[in-house]
Homo-oligomer: 112 residues x 7
Amino acid sequence: MSASEPVTEIRRSVAVLGDRVLVQPPEDSERRSKGGILIPATATSVDRKGTWGEAIGVGPHVRSVSTGDEVLYLPEDAIEVDVQGEAYLIVRERDVHAVGTTRRDGATGLYL
Amino acid sequence: MSASEPVTEIRRSVAVLGDRVLVQPPEDSERRSKGGILIPATATSVDRKGTWGEAIGVGPHVRSVSTGDEVLYLPEDAIEVDVQGEAYLIVRERDVHAVGTTRRDGATGLYL
Amino acid sequence: MSASEPVTEIRRSVAVLGDRVLVQPPEDSERRSKGGILIPATATSVDRKGTWGEAIGVGPHVRSVSTGDEVLYLPEDAIEVDVQGEAYLIVRERDVHAVGTTRRDGATGLYL
Amino acid sequence: MSASEPVTEIRRSVAVLGDRVLVQPPEDSERRSKGGILIPATATSVDRKGTWGEAIGVGPHVRSVSTGDEVLYLPEDAIEVDVQGEAYLIVRERDVHAVGTTRRDGATGLYL
Amino acid sequence: MSASEPVTEIRRSVAVLGDRVLVQPPEDSERRSKGGILIPATATSVDRKGTWGEAIGVGPHVRSVSTGDEVLYLPEDAIEVDVQGEAYLIVRERDVHAVGTTRRDGATGLYL
Amino acid sequence: MSASEPVTEIRRSVAVLGDRVLVQPPEDSERRSKGGILIPATATSVDRKGTWGEAIGVGPHVRSVSTGDEVLYLPEDAIEVDVQGEAYLIVRERDVHAVGTTRRDGATGLYL
Amino acid sequence: MSASEPVTEIRRSVAVLGDRVLVQPPEDSERRSKGGILIPATATSVDRKGTWGEAIGVGPHVRSVSTGDEVLYLPEDAIEVDVQGEAYLIVRERDVHAVGTTRRDGATGLYL
């Protein structure tokens, strides 16, 4: 390859495997009351607190989550992946406890 | 989209997945004797104490719990989920030990 | 609903789920020798001591225990459930090691 | 029921469930050499020491043990059950490592 | 039974159950180099050291070990059983890693 | 073999077994922001951080990774293997969370 | 047997069972760079370091390793076995991560 020829940089498309979901983590994962007041992490009855994040990719075996849904996961179940300096998260579908979706009515009467 | 056009906010309906139950945690999970006297948490023969909460949503794989039932769960099995500043809990059906229901007679002679 | 109309209180019947047994814990779980003398908890050859309690409800998947049987369980396998200020226990059928029953002869020559 | 009528006491027959064996623990579980000399518990090459006890009841799923056999079990696998002030043990068939039996020849050349 | 009639002592034949092997532990489990020099237990590259012992009984489900074979086991997998003051060991077939046998050629070129 | 005859050195080809992937670990596994600034390992929301490395060999049971793909793995899931003084890594396919590939579009909109 | 008759010593052939591989451990398991320089054990990116050793025997259920192959294993997965004062190792096939073999091309481009 002569020096003048443009070096075509190999672009590799990122895909998540199996039953995994690629998540854009929330900007700020603090909890705010309806009035917007910051709720301290300790003010809850159970130890494990879920976090919402947007699904931006799903593996071939994922059934109940689609790209664009909000997914509820526990940080301890997530793996961080760096793509071009940006941090994303990967969780398995079995570790997604709830979704916020426009695709159907969740029948809980609750909305994000 | 011109500035005057109303920004339609995307409402995402919350749904629980798989075998999970969305629970409205009890206001005050203290135990009171029949006469209403507060029973200290220590006054029992076993370590693990169940808590009752109302089911406000069930996943597609849930068979023995319906929305509106009271469900008995252990706090350590629950995950907290925040929706619009309100804290709800998610437990799996296998971690629901008993229900208080109007749908059938539990044949225990006990009522909530 | 007008103020004069009686507020019908919703009574929810308590049911245990799956393979679980609802147990009335014993009044006093001390062990007494035949002569009625209190046997200290330490005076035994093994660490795990079973407790007898009466079964007052069984889940739909329970096969070998009936309401009214005495069941032998380990406290560490039990979950406490409060109903109207009374403490009951829930154990899984697989954690019931023996029964005292009037339904059949246990062929051990032993009777409660 | 009038005061003069005899109160018929309910006798419940004790039965072990599933794959469990009810064992009469040995009087004294010390080990004695052939000459009858007490062998200290520490004088062995391995940590786990089995104990022999007589089977006095078997559950419906037990195949290789019969009432009257001597069974070898590890104390840590046993649960103690109190019947009328007497302490018995319950072990699962899978935790019975050897038997001493009159029903067949064990083909080890060893006898209890 | 009158006092003069001989009391026939019940002899119980010892049998191992399931997939277990009854082993005569080695007299001295020290390791000696070819020249007979004692090899300190620490002089090896791995933590787990097997011990050879003779199989003197096998359970009904054992396939690859016969009475008379030398079997290689780890002490932590063995249970000690006392028969008439003699200490024997019981291991499961799945915990027998190698055999020394006259029944076939092990195709390792090694002999005990 | 006479002294003059060339000693043919046995070359053994390295193959990974089963569902394993042979990975060329990254030169420098530091994370850099888009502008190239080093991102300290602590600056993330979750504990487990994936690392990208190139797959240079796959076992016969591997389905979703091909030689030449970038694979995302967790260091704690990897085994180091030394070949001729060079250190490579082996991970199981189930421990590969995402790939960067030219073979297909990962549908995440992200590229390595 | 009269004193003059030669005592025929019983030679037992050593065989590994099931899915196990008998390994000749390496003389010196230090790592050397291509130039032969000793690489300190700490100079690597992951905790678990594999070791190469020659397979000198395989059990009847082994499929992907043959006698004479080099096998990569982790010391913590190996059991030491002493045969006539020589120390060998036993590992299970599932704990063999890679092989160096003359039987086929491993398609990694790497050779031992």
